[in-house]
C-alpha cells in the first residue's frame, strides 16, 4: 500500500471519520488473506490545521483574492509537509478548501484526490443527473463544485433562496457544536424548497462533513436513501476513493 497524506483539522471530527474509515477499509481489504499479526493499515501522515486560523483566513467572497491567497498558502504548506514526510497520495479532509483546490495544489508534485471529482464519479456510478449541493457558504456560493459536476454530465446546484442557504449554514454550526434539534427534518425542508420534482434521477449532496451527522444511519455509508431522498456522504465517498488509490 502507498502512504497517504491527509490535511485535517477542518474540522477535527471529520478527520477522525476519514482516518477511521481508511483503517476499517484496510482491515476489510486484508481479511481472510492469511496475514499473520494485526491487520495491515496504510502508513499515513496527517497535518491537522487550526480551524480557527483557516476560518479567519477565508475570503469574504469569491473575489477577495488577498485573503484567499493566505488561506491557500496555509493548506499548500501542509501538503508540502506531507509530501516531505513521504506521502505518495494526498487528500484534504474537508469540502470547503476544494473551492480553492487549483490554487492550493499549485506546485504540489504528488497526486491530491479532489473530493468534488470523487463525488462526480460516484454520481456517474449511481446514474445521478441532478445534485443539490448543501454545504458551507463558500461551497454553496462558488462555482467550482458545479463546474466539476458539469464535466461529468451532472447538473449541480445550491439552494437559490437566501433563507434556505442561511438555514443550512446555521445547521452546520449547530451540528458542529452538537446542539441541533430536528436536523434531518430541517434538511428535508430545504430539499423540498430547493429541488422541485423534475422526473430526473436526483440526489442531495451533504457537502460538508458536519451534515451527515443529521442522519446517524448515513455516518458510515457513501450514500443512503431517507424517506425517498438519496443523500450522498462526501466524507465516505472521498475516503473510499483515497483507499482505492493506495492499493492500485
Amino acid at each position: 500500500m502507498k502512504k497517504l497524506g491527509i490535511v485535517g483539522g477542518v474540522a477535527w471530527p471529520s478527520t477522525i471519520e476519514y482516518y477511521g474509515a481508511i483503517c476499517r477499509l484496510s482491515i476489510a481489504f486484508h481479511a481472510n488473506k492469511g496475514i499473520s499479526g494485526p491487520p495491515p493499515v496504510p502508513e499515513m501522515s496527517i497535518e491537522s490545521l487550526n480551524i480557527n486560523k483557516s476560518f479567519g483566513l477565508r475570503g469574504n467572497n469569491a473575489n477577495d483574492n488577498e485573503s484567499w491567497a493566505r488561506y491557500d498558502e496555509y493548506f499548500r504548506d501542509a501538503l508540502q509537509r506531507l509530501q516531505k514526510s513521504g506521502a505518495e497520495i494526498a487528500i484534504i479532509a474537508s469540502n470547503t478548501p476544494h473551492n480553492r483546490f487549483r490554487s492550493i495544489t499549485r506546485g504540489i508534485d504528488i497526486e491530491v484526490i479532489s473530493i468534488f471529482d470523487a463525488v462526480a464519479k460516484e454520481c456517474n456510478r449511481l446514474n445521478i443527473d441532478e445534485l443539490l449541493i448543501l454545504g458551507t457558504a463558500p461551497t454553496m456560493a462558488m462555482p467550482v463544485f458545479s463546474d466539476t459536476l458539469k464535466r461529468f454530465g451532472v447538473d449541480g446546484f445550491a439552494p437559490t433562496s437566501e433563507v434556505d442557504r442561511e438555514s443550512v449554514v446555521k445547521l452546520i454550526s449547530e451540528l458542529y457544536a452538537d446542539v441541533s434539534d430536528n436536523a434531518g427534518e430541517r434538511i428535508r425542508r430545504v430539499v423540498d424548497n430547493a429541488m422541485p420534482e423534475t422526473g430526473k434521477n436526483r440526489a442531495v449532496c451533504l457537502a460538508c462533513t458536519e451534515l451527515p451527522l443529521a442522519f446517524p444511519q448515513i455516518a458510515k455509508a457513501t450514500s443512503l436513501s431517507v424517506d425517498g431522498v438519496l443523500y450522498m456522504n462526501t466524507t465516505m465517498i472521498h475516503a473510499k476513493a483515497a483507499f482505492k488509490a493506495l492499493t492500485t
Copy 2:
C-alpha cells in the same frame, strides 16, 4: 499553542482517542474567552504507522536486540519526520514502544513526553503507593515502567502468574477485535489474584490503549473507581500531559 507531533497507528483506535482528547481539551481551554470563529485547536502532525509492520519488528524477548533495533528505528524515523514538519513537542500514542523509549528517542531534538513519566506523576498526585501494571506482553515483562515508577516512589509490578498475564494479553486482542465477553469481570479476576490487600493506596494501570474499553465509563476519564478498584487510563493521562505542555 505549540505544535504537537503524534506517532500513531499502534493501534489506530487509540490514535483517535488521543487526537479527539487533545481537540476537546483545547475547546474546553478556550471556552468563554471571547474568541471569534471556531474554537482554536493546536496544529498537529501525526505519523500513523502500520501496526502489522511494528508488530513484526518486535523482539521476541527483552534481549533480542537485533529485532528491537529495527523496531526502534521505525519509531525514531517517524519522530524525525514529525520534527521536520515543525512539531515542537511529541508523544508516542501507545504504551508498548515506551519500553524502548530511550533508544527510540536517541538523537531526537524535540521533547518527547513519556507515557510512563506521565502516569508516575499522576500516581504522585493521587498518592498511589502501589500500581498493578496490565498491558501487552512486553509492557508486563520488561522493567522500564516499574523502574520509572520507582524513581517517583511508586511500587509498580505486573501479575507474576503466567496464567494471569496470558489472560490479559488474550483480552487485549479480543478488545481490539471487538469480540470480548465480560471484559471487566476478567480484569477484576486478574486484579484479585495479582494484587493482594496490603493496606496501602493502590491502583490498577490499564497500560495498553485497548484495556480501558473493558470499562466504557472510563473512556474519557484519567482514572475511575469501579467496584472499589481505582483504574488509571494511560491514554487520557498522557493526552492531558501533552496538552498541558502545548499551552505552557
